[in-house]
Structures are given as structure tokens and as C-alpha cells.
């Protein structure tokens, strides 16, 4: 049968963000794939060198549309380390609360995208309906559904009252029930399993070789999670498990992400009950002493790394961002080799790409 080249992107119904694939297809199976990126490059790293540390918080929030809070958290964490600033515990707890809510939001959104790509619209609708609960909580907390602008250098700018805490706890009860239902569907629905099992397989060696992080790595049996391995406070005071699966296919990734969502709801509840009293932020100086720092945190898609260098002024000399999507992008040609044309969308959904993060 003749080989044909199928373009996927920059605009295609299966892509939520612009990137371009050229798939060489023989019959229905993919022989070769090439990837082109850079459609949403905004030069954020360069722009960071032209703005003050405070202004940059708002800039790095716009690196990603889904995990925006984790970017500002990692950035602030780094600047605070450079300043030698002690962040009040209540501030750290609230920061982490939003991080975990964002993880739930990101994973539910992802489940919806996967379901849509395998033609299971009902799960897509259910996952996005349940995601609304998280978005409502976040809107109540910060005023923003997706971009929260919660972090400041030295803490957070939001606080919460007793009644507000109880409201969130009751909303989490509802969320718990819905997420358990979705997890049940992922574990038992046979048509979903038929489309996701044994597809996009990554072995443990591949994961190690490509330095894959996050749920994709954990679904291949690599037991890494920054929240547990090098816990920044308050993770050292919270109890949670890190779900790991051995299969390394798209279904394993789905399972890992849904289990993580369950754990995140648990974490949110712990944070709210353990929330200490006190101020939410400490005052920070505008000028940052010269030095360099690497700040890391566990984003929904895996480890985010910020490298910040200061020359003693109020403007950073360099901000370098490494997002988790980069590590999964490199594995795509391996995953796509030989798969059925119909499974391309499943493989692409499986790694949970964030092109805005990768392009910056």
C-alpha cells in the first residue's frame, strides 16, 4: 500500500494547542513521525530579564494556562531562597492548597481530553463537570478560575475564614464522590481499556534514558515524586501515597493520574484541617542579593525547574524554565512508531502535553 503523509496540526481537532506533526502512514499504521514546535513561543525567559522580580510573578503565571500557580510558586520559592526569606507557615499551607487544587483541575481536564480523543464524550462531559467544583473553589479563594495571582514573594495574598474553610470542605466531599466514580470507570470500563491498554508503551529504561518525569514516569514504574522525595514544607507534615504503576501504557497513565487526584483531594482536606494561624506573607525587599538558585516543584505534569540568577539589582539577570512537557515530548517518536493511525490521538493525549509550557 502507498505511503501517505498525514499532517496533524498546527490546527487539528485532536490538538488543544498548536504543534505540527507529519505522520508517514502506510495503510493505517504510522511509519515515521516528525514534530515541529514553536507556534506559541512568547519569549517569556527574555522578557523576565526586563522586568522586576515582582512584575515577573505575573509574567511566569502566563507560561501555562493550566498549571499557572505552580509556576509562580516555583519562581517565588527561588526568589525567597535568594533573599533568605522565611515564609510564614500559613502562607505556605495556602500556597500548597492551591497547588493541589490545581493538580485536581489539571488531571480532570486531562481525563476529559483523553475521553474526547477516544470518542467517549460522556466521560469528557462528566470530568469537566466535576472540574467545575475545583474551579469554583479556586474562584472563591483567589477571584480567578485559571490564573489566580495568589503568590507574592514572601507568601500569598489571600486568606480564608473559618466559614469559608467549612464551605470548601463540603465541596471537597462532593468532589471526592465524583472522582471515586470516575476512577471506577477508568478501572472497570472495558471499551475505555480496549482503547488505552498496550498503547504508547514506555519501558522503565526508556523513561530513565529520556529523563521523563511526573505521571508518565510513575506509570512506567519509576517511583519519583518531589513532594515525597524532597518535601518542601508543608508536604513533610502531610501524609499521602504516590501511586505507581508498572504497565507503562496510556491506561496506566490514566490510572496513575486518577489515583493522584484522589490523593490530592485527601491532601487538600489535610491542609485545611491543619491550617496554622498567623500571617500569610512576610515583607520582602525589592533588591535581591547577587547569587543563583535552582528551584523545583512537582507540577501536575511532573517536575518544574526554575533557574534564577541575580546580579544584586531588582531585575533578574537570567530566568531559565524547564517544564515537564519537554521530557515527554522527546519520547513521542518512540511511542508513535508503529501505532495505528487511530491511536495517534490516544498517544498524544496520554502524555498530557502542554505546548504553551514547552514553547514559553
Amino acid at each position: 500500500m502507498n505511503r501517505i503523509t498525514v499532517p496533524i496540526g498546527p490546527q487539528h481537532p485532536l490538538l488543544k494547542e498548536p504543534m505540527a506533526f507529519q505522520l508517514t502512514v502506510e495503510g493505517e499504521s504510522v511509519i515515521e513521525s516528525t514534530l515541529r514546535l514553536g507556534y506559541v513561543h512568547r519569549g517569556i525567559e527574555r522578557l523576565c530579564q526586563e522586568r522586576t522580580y515582582v512584575q515577573n510573578i505575573h509574567l511566569v503565571e502566563r507560561v501555562c494556562g493550566i498549571c499557572s500557580h505552580v509556576h509562580t510558586t516555583t519562581y517565588c520559592q527561588g526568589v525567597e531562597a535568594l533573599l533568605g526569606l522565611e515564609v510564614p507557615l500559613r502562607g505556605l499551607y495556602l500556597r500548597t492548597l492551591l497547588c493541589e487544587l490545581e493538580r485536581i483541575h489539571s488531571h480532570l481536564l486531562w481525563l476529559g481530553v483523553l475521553a474526547r480523543n477516544i470518542g467517549f464524550d460522556t466521560i469528557f462531559m462528566y470530568a469537566w463537570r466535576d472540574r467545575e467544583i475545583v474551579l469554583d473553589i479556586m474562584e472563591d479563594l483567589s477571584g480567578g478560575r485559571v490564573s489566580h495571582a495568589v503568590n507574592v514573594i514572601g507568601g500569598v495574598r489571600i486568606d480564608l475564614t473559618e466559614e469559608h474553610r467549612d464551605t470548601i470542605l463540603s465541596q471537597l466531599d462532593l468532589l471526592d464522590k465524583q472522582v471515586a466514580h470516575l476512577l471506577g470507570i477508568v478501572e472497570h470500563e472495558r471499551s475505555l481499556k480496549a482503547r488505552t491498554q498496550n498503547i504508547g508503551h514506555l519501558s522503565l529504561e526508556d523513561v530513565r534514558r529520556y529523563c521523563v518525569v511526573g505521571p508518565v514516569a510513575r506509570a512506567s514504574g519509576l517511583n519519583v515524586d518531589l513532594r515525597r522525595d524532597r518535601p518542601p514544607p508543608p508536604y513533610d507534615r502531610l501524609t499521602f501515597t504516590v501511586p505507581v504503576h508498572e504497565d507503562g501504557d496510556v491506561w496506566a497513565r490514566t490510572w496513575v493520574r486518577m489515583r493522584e487526584t484522589v490523593e490530592s483531594v485527601r491532601l487538600c482536606r489535610q491542609i485545611l484541617t491543619l491550617l496554622p494561624d498567623g500571617p500569610v506573607a512576610a515583607r520582602a525587599r525589592r533588591r535581591v542579593p547577587a547569587g543563583e538558585v535552582i528551584s523545583r516543584s512537582e507540577a501536575p505534569r511532573g517536575e518544574v525547574i526554575y533557574y534564577i540568577r541575580s546580579d544584586g539589582s531588582d531585575i533578574p539577570a537570567r530566568v531559565k524554565i524547564r517544564t515537564p512537557t519537554l521530557t515527554s515530548l522527546i519520547t513521542l517518536p518512540t511511542q508513535l512508531e508503529g501505532v495505528n493511525m487511530a491511536d495517534v490521538s490516544v498517544v498524544l493525549a496520554g502524555v498530557d502535553l502542554c505546548i504553551a509550557c514547552a514553547d514559553r
Binding site: 477516544i118 470518542g119 463537570r129 470500563e189 495505528n340
Partner: protein, 306 residues
């Protein structure tokens, strides 16, 4: 009288209205299952009119004549099929063997769909066309065997007599539950509905064969698919639910309508419940599960005194 039959009831106008109504109800039911609101009742008509008014583009390199003729060809085939399927107690045209003609006419759109992909220039259309043909070979054989069983049971290849036979004895769905299930699955495959919407899977091949169509042509394609839905459902009502042969038209029609709605709701529920199959999974299902089961149903029917 023949002209009225052809143009109004149960001809074009009736089928057109049914198609719009079924489309709306289908979308509405699916929306309610997915906790959405769903479209208002006039949405299918509004979509149809909007598409008629839109610019009609044929990409350069595509076969312009084929692109213009194929949607009309499909529409003609399903409308003609509609004439031979009794609605309620109204039998417009009927002869011994009309079941075979209807089955033939109902499978013509699959050919049209394949040719539409074949004659256009896009790769998505090409893949969609290939897939529709593969899908056709997977569902058509079990479907034909499944609808043959009630014909054998009643000893007639005439749809009206099969329905009459069942209204005297009992429903085909009760006597041949296996055949009924297989016919429903076959119909889903024929109509390219979820979860067997493989040739037009949005996240894989955009809109399959119809990717490059626009304006009037896509409107006619959609209409032909929905009229095919209506005729397919009417056919199953006659073959498996005993049709409706009450003396009075005003009793026969509502009963027939209720039975048809029952099948439509069943189809909507199935499309909500499952993820889309892959084409090789469908081929496996069709040849390893559905075809043997259909054969068993057929043999049991013949054995038990067809």
C-alpha cells in the same frame, strides 16, 4: 395520489420532518445523559438552512462532478428505501422481495461515502473512505443475516407481511432476541454512530470522507444520514417489533411512532455508554463474534421451522 404519497406522506416531507425530529431528539437525549442542556427543537432545521445558504467550496483537484452527485445519490437511495418501508398501516409500495431491495438501497450510502473519500484530495477523506469500506465489510454481513431471520420465520421477503405475521404471533425481538441485538449493532455501524463512528472520528480523521465538503453538499450529506437513520429504525420496527397494523391510521401511527422512538432512545443510550472502537477491533468483533452469532441465529430459525 401517487404524487402525494411521493412528496408528502410517507414520502419526502414526512421523512424530512422525521429526520429533523429524530436528530433533535437524539442530540437532546445524549445531552441529557451527559448533563448538558442540548439544542432547542428548531436547531436541526436551522442548521440545515444555514448550511444551504453557505458558500459551496470544492477544493481544486477534487472531482467536482462526483462531489456534487454523491450526496444526491445517497439521499435518493435512502428516500427510495423509505418508500418501501411501511409506516404504521400505510404501505406505499410493496412486493414480494422488497426487503432485499430496501437492504440494497440502505447500503448504497456506504458506497457513496467511500467514493466521496476516494474522489476528494484530502488525506483525511482518503483514510475516512478506506475506513468506511472496512467498516461496511464488518457490520454488513451480520446485519444481513440478522434481518434475514424474521423473514425466514414468517416465510416471506415482503416487509409488510413480516410485520403482519408478527402482529398475529409475537414480536421478532422476543422470538429472536439475538437477531434483534445484532441488527441494532449493525444499524449503528451502518449509520456510523458512536461508538462505531470510526470513519468520521473527529480526533483521528477530522470528518472522514466529508472533511472537504461544505455548504449545500454537506447539508445533503447530513440529511441523507438522518433519513437513513429514520428508514433504518422504521425497518427494524417492522422486522422486530411487529410494525403496526391497526385498522385506523390514527391508532396505528402513534403505536408505530412509539416503537420507533424506543429504538432511537436505545441507539442514543448506546452511543453515550461506550468509547469508540478502533477499526481492527471492529473487524475482530464483526467477524469473530457478530457473524458467528448471526449464523447461529439464522440456523436456529431455519431449524425451528422457517
Amino acid at each position: 395520489m401517487a404524487l402525494i404519497n411521493l412528496l408528502f406522506f410517507p414520502g419526502f416531507t414526512f421523512l424530512f420532518m422525521c429526520a429533523l425530529f429524530f436528530e433533535w431528539l437524539d442530540r437532546r437525549i445524549i445531552a441529557r445523559f451527559q448533563e448538558r442542556v442540548g439544542p432547542p427543537w428548531f436547531q436541526p432545521l436551522a442548521d440545515f438552512i444555514k448550511l444551504l445558504a453557505k458558500e459551496d467550496i470544492v477544493p481544486s483537484g477534487a472531482h467536482a462532478k462526483a462531489a456534487a452527485l454523491l450526496p444526491m445519490f445517497s439521499l435518493t437511495a435512502v428516500l427510495t428505501a423509505g418508500l418501501y418501508v411501511p409506516v404504521g398501516n400505510v404501505v406505499t409500495a410493496s412486493f414480494e422481495g422488497d426487503l432485499i431491495v430496501v437492504l440494497f438501497l440502505l447500503s448504497l450510502p456506504a458506497l457513496g461515502y467511500f467514493l466521496a473519500g476516494w474522489t476528494s484530495v484530502g488525506v483525511y477523506s482518503l483514510i475516512g473512505g478506506h475506513r468506511s469500506l472496512l467498516q461496511y465489510f464488518s457490520y454488513e454481513v451480520p446485519f444481513l443475516m440478522a434481518v434475514a431471520s424474521p423473514a425466514i420465520l414468517s416465510g416471506s421477503w415482503r416487509i409488510a407481511s413480516i410485520a403482519a405475521y408478527q402482529s398475529q404471533t409475537t414480536w421478532g425481538a422476543l422470538m429472536q432476541p439475538l437477531g434483534f441485538i445484532l441488527a441494532i449493532i449493525g444499524l449503528i455501524g451502518k449509520l456510523k454512530r458512536d461508538p462505531l463512528d470510526i470513519p468520521k472520528a473527529k480526533s483521528e480523521v477530522v470528518a472522514g470522507s466529508l472533511t472537504d465538503f461544505s455548504g449545500r453538499k454537506i447539508a445533503l450529506w447530513h440529511l441523507s444520514i438522518y433519513i437513513q437513520t429514520v428508514v433504518g429504525i422504521f425497518l427494524l420496527v417492522n422486522l422486530f417489533l411487529g410494525g403496526s397494523s391497526h385498522q385506523s391510521l390514527f391508532v396505528a401511527l402513534p403505536i408505530f411512532g412509539l416503537k420507533a422512538l424506543g429504538i432511537l432512545i436505545l441507539l442514543s443510550m448506546i452511543s453515550v455508554l461506550y468509547a469508540r472502537l478502533r477499526i481492527d477491533q471492529l473487524a475482530n468483533l464483526g467477524w469473530r463474534v457478530l457473524a458467528p452469532l448471526a449464523l447461529i441465529q439464522l440456523l436456529v430459525t431455519i431449524w425451528s421451522g422457517g
